[in-house]
Amino acid sequence: MSDLDEFKVTYFDECSELLGELEEIFAVIELGDRDSARINAAFRAVHSIKGGAGAFGFSALVEFAHGYETLMDQVRDGRVSMSDDVVTLCIRANDLLADFVGAARSDAPLAAEHGLAEKLQMAALAEGQAIDGELDDFDFDFTPIAVDLGKDEAETKIEVHTDQFADAPSTDLDGQWEISFRPHAALYARANDPLLLFRELAALGHMSVQAQMLDLPPLADFEPFGVYCLWTISLVSPDLTEAMIREVFEFVEGDCDISVVRLGEQTGTGENDVTVQVAISATDVLDPNINDFLMLSDDEIGAMIEFGEPDDLREAPLVGQETVGASIPQEAIAAGPEAGIPEPTSAKPIVELADEGDRRAVGVQSIRVDLEKVDRVVNMVGELVITQSMLTQQMDETLRTQYTELVRGLEVLAQTTRGLQDSVMAIRAQPVKSVFSRMPRLVRELGLKTGKTIKLEMVGEATEIDKTVIEQLSDPLTHMIRNSADHGIESGAVRLAAGKPEAGTIRLGAEQAGGNILITIEDDGAGINRERVLQVARSRGVVAPDADPTDEQIDQLIFAPGFSTAEAVSDISGRGVGMDVVLSNIRKIGGSVNVRSRPGRGTRMTLRLPLTLAVLDVMLVQVGQSRYVVPLSSIVETIQCSRAAFSRVPSGGQVLHVRGEYVQVIDLAERFELDGARDAESRFLVLCEAEGSHKIALIVDDIMGQQQVVIKSLEENFERVEGIAGGTILGDGNVALIVDVQGLKASDPHRTAA
């Protein structure tokens, strides 16, 4: 039972993927791409879902999937055209299929009429009828029926026969069958082998085989897969039926001439005659010159072909012109040598294969691994990185000159560790496609709900990003797209009046930029209504009444907690708990959100996300007696304080004038209440870029270098600290805190709106 449950887990996992695939396929098909490869892929997805469902006996799911599959099969073959109606039906069917999968998973059967209308429509289409409402008279039946009249008839007859003559006196020939069997070349071409058939026949009863050689060519002309032999097999067993014999030949039917005759019945006529002669190929009439009868054991033939000198045998037929008879007992067949007539030659490639079997290469392209196992490796590699850098730091000059080999070894170790780390991180990476693929459906639904026509464009779906990040991405993306559809994109009439195309476009993009992944959600809507935003922000106290924020700052206000500008709260964007949740979710995974809006032209939101959550490239800085690390990805440049141009601002803070820009300055010693170096001139400024390309400058006492650190969560081990993103263990075993640049800026007491 547990095996079955395990399969079920695999199956439902697979179903989720296939359903996602279907959705994706139809999102493209809906846009007018009716490429046959896509339709084929859709067919396969439905087919796979049905296949697995059959294995577990999910009959409702099988039934629905079967109807859908049948329709897709017709579409694939061009018998049903992929009209818009059909596309709509299929999209609906995808949802229903998901319902049926869900029902099977939770073991909660759906109502009988669930999806019935669609089933009928699909059946009608597959039957070549147009979609219409009048489906009542349609005779609906999806149960697949296996029809094999010939065989069933034969079996029935045998039964009738047995009933009638069960008590009749039996003759000597009772239970004796004679089978003549002549393979075609096709039989060998499909890797079937008469010997295997005989082996199986031998298991049915006492068997004797007579081989009859056809024209045998000289050995030099001998075709390994040629047909040089036919056989007459006699089989004795009291309870044998023709069906049992036929079953042995099931796979070679059509690839051979075969007749099965029950001895003693040959002359029988009339309705109860069970002698059946079938599958005689018209193209392969028996050679009239058959005069060589031969019965050789496999050993003999094998020996002849293997040891005979080709020169000696070239002119003479391979075997003599005499008839040899032999009876092959059951055991001999079962334990017999592996050489059938064509075997000595055909066995050769197998031997070669065996030699090649030593090559260690695995053809399977991917494996599935429990994420927990990967995380364990990631963690251990993290520890390894720390140990490695600890070792490197222990090397002083004396040791370096003394132990050159050791130093070289450590250098190699450092390189390998770095490589190992990169590779392990790559394991966790997944294409963003898995999240993006859910969005077309969302946009479709939003379009229906809002009555707007919205197109979704996606680029960069193959961009890879850490799996944990991906998992955290779905909710923020959904929210932002909802926001765009609800607030950003105008109604069709408004758009037309503004000289824009009636259909609005939401563009979803992903790209890698250095150590970050940028996800952009862009719409060509009305842009952010800054006047309104500011008004609301003021009325809610988010912004001081006298402050005069810049346009960019106003745009950023939509992420403020409890903020919503929707004049009428809709069920799409929610109730004002939208964008601030987005921001906090993104921050949680070490990312940032930036919004840019152009009135009347649209809004672009950019999520900047770390490639991986586990390891960070940092700059190590000294502040007082403590060391801090600043994420390298946020550092723009470092400047010596003695060379920097500071100005005081009325609020008491400092700003830095750098390349025509005023940058807010935060003294980390002051901020974290540490004893910083008193000599201001020897200190350094670390210029960082925060959200929305806003810069801040951090004053530190010294810069100590760059390194990679493994992030340890403070929240998990202690509690959240403002301005600190986490902790890390340095090479010497000491703990350093990771500076949260964005958080520092937000919490700066000197922050002004300017």
Binding site: S48, R190, A361
Partner: protein, 122 residues
């Protein structure tokens, strides 16, 4: 008969998992591929005694896969069992025409699967 090396080719992980379960319980060594192309890849590097393949697969379907196997010369006598569904008789025939040795209908009965394998392997 145990110790046979069997290549299973199917784009459904469920089917692959079930085949693996049945076959490895029977003492066989199982290789897996998710489409024909991967299947050929395995054949290039591993010695395999039997192939069990699905028909409907992406990239390279079962029919093409069987054709490629038979065309390779090296694998003319490699038994290939087709996995079919009850309703796709034509697919089975196509698979057979391409060079399939035998077939088994999905969802398969484990005992039947083993007996089919025995029927096509020495």
């Amino acid at each position: 008969m145990t110790g046979l090396r069997i290549l299973t080719v199917d784009d459904s992980r469920t089917i692959l998992a079930m085949l693996h379960h049945t076959l490895s319980n029977a003492g066989f060594e199982v290789f897996q591929a998710e489409d024909g192309r991967q299947g050929l890849e395995v054949l290039r590097t591993q010695k395999v005694d039997v192939v069990i393949t699905d028909i409907n697969m992406p990239i390279m379907d079962g029919i093409e896969f069987i054709k490629a196997v038979r065309a390779s010369g090296e694998f003319q006598s490699l038994p290939v069992i087709i996995l079919t569904t009850e309703t796709s008789q034509d697919k089975r025939d196509q698979g057979k025409a391409a060079g399939g040795t035998g077939w088994i209908v999905k969802p398969f009965d484990p005992e039947k699967l083993i007996s089919v394998i025995h029927r096509v392997v020495h």
